[in-house]
């Protein structure tokens, strides 16, 4: 099925140089509708929702924000470091939302997994089910993310 003009416009917003220098799609050449659909299938198979995943990410980010630039241990097994930069970034889904340029470095010590996400990632996962394209710096595969966050075994 062809991609709707609305999604096509959003995919243009995700190109390098539109909202960020590197864009949101990495080297993924799939249409946005396919990226969204395939990640959605993965999340459904895990019996989770995007909101649950985003909520868990927000939980760790909020802990990190309490200590500014200092890493904080959360619930014994996780280490979180939050770092923010000047400016705000609009959501490429053109929903009039914007996020402060805050990045979270998250480590699941038990599993030895380190991941990065921004406040915008949390928003895009929660409201749009978008985990970024493959090869993008902030792309986190939903199954790996859910595991690292302790949502699945």
């Amino acid at each position: 099925m062809k991609q709707s003009p609305g999604l096509k416009r959003i995919q243009e917003n995700m190109q390098p140089g539109a909202f960020t220098a590197h864009g949101f799609l990495g080297d993924d050449d799939r249409a946005l509708k396919d990226i969204l659909r395939q990640d959605n299938v993965v999340v459904e198979k895990l019996n989770l929702s995007h909101a649950q995943i985003a909520g868990r990410m927000q939980y760790f980010t909020d802990h990190g924000k309490e200590t500014l630039d200092i890493p904080v241990t959360v619930d014994d097994d996780y280490e979180v470091l939050v770092d923010d930069h000047r400016g705000e970034i609009p959501c490429p889904f053109a929903d009039n939302q914007k996020a402060i340029k805050t990045n979270t470095k998250f480590t699941n010590r038990k599993l030895g997994i380190t991941m990065y996400w921004s406040d915008l990632n949390i928003h895009m996962i929660r409201y749009h089910g978008f985990y970024e394209g493959k090869g993008s710096f902030f792309r986190n595969d939903p199954d790996v993310l859910a595991k690292a966050l302790g949502l699945i075994d």
Partner: protein
Amino acid sequence: MEILLTIISITGISTVLAVLIIIAEKFLNNYGECEIDINEGDRSLKVEGGSSLLSSLAANKIFIPSACGGKATCGLCKVKVMEGAGPLLPTEEPYLTPEERKDGVRLSCQVKVKGNLRVYIPEELFNISEYIATVTEINDMTHDIKEYRLEFKEGEEIKFKAGQYMQIETKPYEKVREKAIRAYSISSAPSDNKAVELIIRRVPGGVCTTYMHDYVKVGDEVRITGPYGDFYMRDDSDEYVLMAGGSGLAPIKSLVMDIMEKGLDKKMIFIFGAVSKKDLYYEDFFRKLDEENEKFTYVPCLSRPEPDDKWEGETGLVTEVLGKYVKSGEGMHAYLCGSPGMINACVDVLVTTDFSEEKIYYDKFS
């Protein structure tokens, strides 16, 4: 055959309709000359209708702050429009408070000039000018912070208050096809009025900081506008707490230099938060000021010093250090520049030390 004829007919009709729409648009969207009345007759501009209020004003050298270039994503270009703006657009709604909506405040990038307008623009915005400046120096301050000196053309000068900022316009580069506009605080003193110095920290993936760090070289010309902002020194206190993190040092340096140059009798403590020693800069400058001035105290604070740093200074959260040095804020002013997280946390600490909230001035990185 019948199907083919139907397709041809529909295509033909669609084409004719499309042409008619294009022709009609040309006539209907021709708004002609429009008048923008500014501040109840103080100024009046004649502009060709059809452009945004933001760009119509900029074409007449009235520069409203804007960091997104008219995409309605920064919410900075607010202007009060008393008449002629048309209905509020959904793109503006997230940026306007109920009070602002009631007062007729609009995002000037979203208001199209289609007829005569009556607007209110704060006086200070008339001092904003456009400069084509030459980059005469680029200094590496840390691993991710550079300082730029931008000199104006012969005969040009700038009048700004220490703490204010400029906006830089980037040119298209690599895959970035559109210009971008971003704000950076001035780090030089107002007395140095033939140039401005800006401190820019690289934002990973940032359109403007990537441009400045990787593409701008000494000798290049850069389009800048300014000065902007209401983060500047208020002179009704003799004691200041200054706090900064990262590139937030820029406006604080300008403030300190201004106070020193003017010989103002102010007691100041400057707490600068950084992660490790490699993130400190202008160390010699501030340490020298500390040594030579009884009334100036410099307190660098590292949140995560490296073992190799052999750091003997303050460590930990900048808020803890603040609480240690500032016991009572009565009668004092605070000037903070840094990330929203740092500022929110510092404000929370300051208000517990009798600081009056309206005497806490800040420039959040947003």
